[in-house]
Subunit: 212 residues, 2 copies
DNA sequence: GTCTGACGGAACGGAACCGTTCCATCGAGG
DNA sequence: CCTCGATGGAACGGTTCCGTTCCGTCAGAC
């Protein structure tokens, strides 16, 4: 499968030279293969073929397959900063339903592809968590902290538990139950689990009219 | 749709060269290898070696690797029936912290090992969901329905969302965040997410299906 | 005691990968 | 124009795994 990332300048037989983004092209090809066959079945040959590079080039830059894959994961676009919609509900929807969120097909497939590797390669797991999970978790944490400042949620909420709950529920539905995550299902989880769990007292106030 | 897997031992006379549980021994060995190296890297040779069987024997009974693994998964012990502790909280803890629950190391490792296969083998995924996920989900559903009858939880709770939430959260913490699930962490999730989400009491409806 | 047949073990050819090496080619800088 | 360095492509030997086949063994059926 040819990566959609066609080099703008070079085409039609001319050999793609190292234009600086050559490395990114290879990493993109790595992600394509990763999404296609998974981590365990990803081979350097397949990556080389997909990137129209030679294995020699690959090994010149990355000594091992884990190193290449980790680099590829790190090269993925980070989710945008989450816009302040004024409510926790709006922020969560904006964050998880947008690009780079839980409805991003490619990202979900890749996520599932590396779970095996996470369980069996400590170094891989560490890199994955700090580079991939970390930024997303930080963003999500920020959303909840904003809600905390607004007084939208209880002040005794354990963010370590609450913050990862939403992706956990959605990913579980996706991977193990076979549902395709869309905005609607994510909203249902937010409305029926997350918001009730953090709601303030008996009064369930998710009022958008209280911007701190 | 089970591929050519004879229901053995009950048949008289014909079979058991060794013992009727020889098949189960092989399936157990399969689970061992599965937990050890994962689905993609599981080889028939490794299973044969682990079971001290010959590959010929394996292929005599299971035509392919997916068939063998599916049979192995199906042979795993089902979780016990959940004792009625009198409260939803007690039932959840009893169910998920006990054997076959979310603290069962072997089961968790195997779970992570097959996620790759689930995403890429439709037949495998279907068998896995009906044989592995299905019974657990049914048990969990029963626990919540019992709570519903007790009047412990709101009667407008969407069980399709709520029931899989707990395993989702815990598995996410385990696989992606690298936490080891123990009774304490599961209890925290129950107390801070699940119970608040289903607790009786006033609740604003965020249900998009109710656009009053 | 003999026959039967499933068994474990070993080996096979073929295929896929790995990591390396060699080489012709092409782009850029001198 | 010409050299130099990085590249793509192809091939290598070595390893692993697949699915099959053959064979000697041994417990139960007869």
């Amino acid at each position: 499968m040819t990566p959609a990332v066609g080099s703008p300048a070079s085409e039609a037989g001319t050999r793609p030279r190292v234009e600086g983004d050559r490395e990114q092209q290879i990493l993109d090809a790595t992600l394509d293969v990763l999404a296609d066959v998974g981590y365990d079945r990803l081979t350097m040959d397949a990556v080389a073929a997909s990137a129209r590079a030679s294995k020699a080039t690959l090994y010149r830059r990355w000594s091992t397959k884990p190193a290449l894959v980790i680099d590829a994961l790190c090269s993925m676009k980070e989710p945008h900063e989450v816009p302040d919609t004024g409510t926790l509900r709006g922020d969560l929807i904006a964050m998880f339903c947008g690009m780079g969120g839980l409805t991003d097909e490619r990202q979900l497939v890749i996520l599932g592809s590396v779970i095996t590797a996470i369980g069996r390669d400590q170094q891989f797991a560490a890199a994955f968590r700090s580079q991939f999970i970390g930024p997303k978790a930080a963003l999500s944490l920020g959303v909840f902290e904003r809600a905390l400042e607004r007084g939208e949620i209880r002040d005794d909420v354990d963010l370590d538990i609450v913050v990862p709950a939403l992706p956990g529920i959605v990913l579980h539905r996706q991977f193990l139950m076979g549902e395709v995550a869309d905005a609607g299902s994510i909203e249902r989880v937010i409305d029926q689990i997350i918001l009730p769990a953090v709601a303030v007292g008996p009064r369930h106030s998710h009022d958008p009219k209280d911007p701190t």
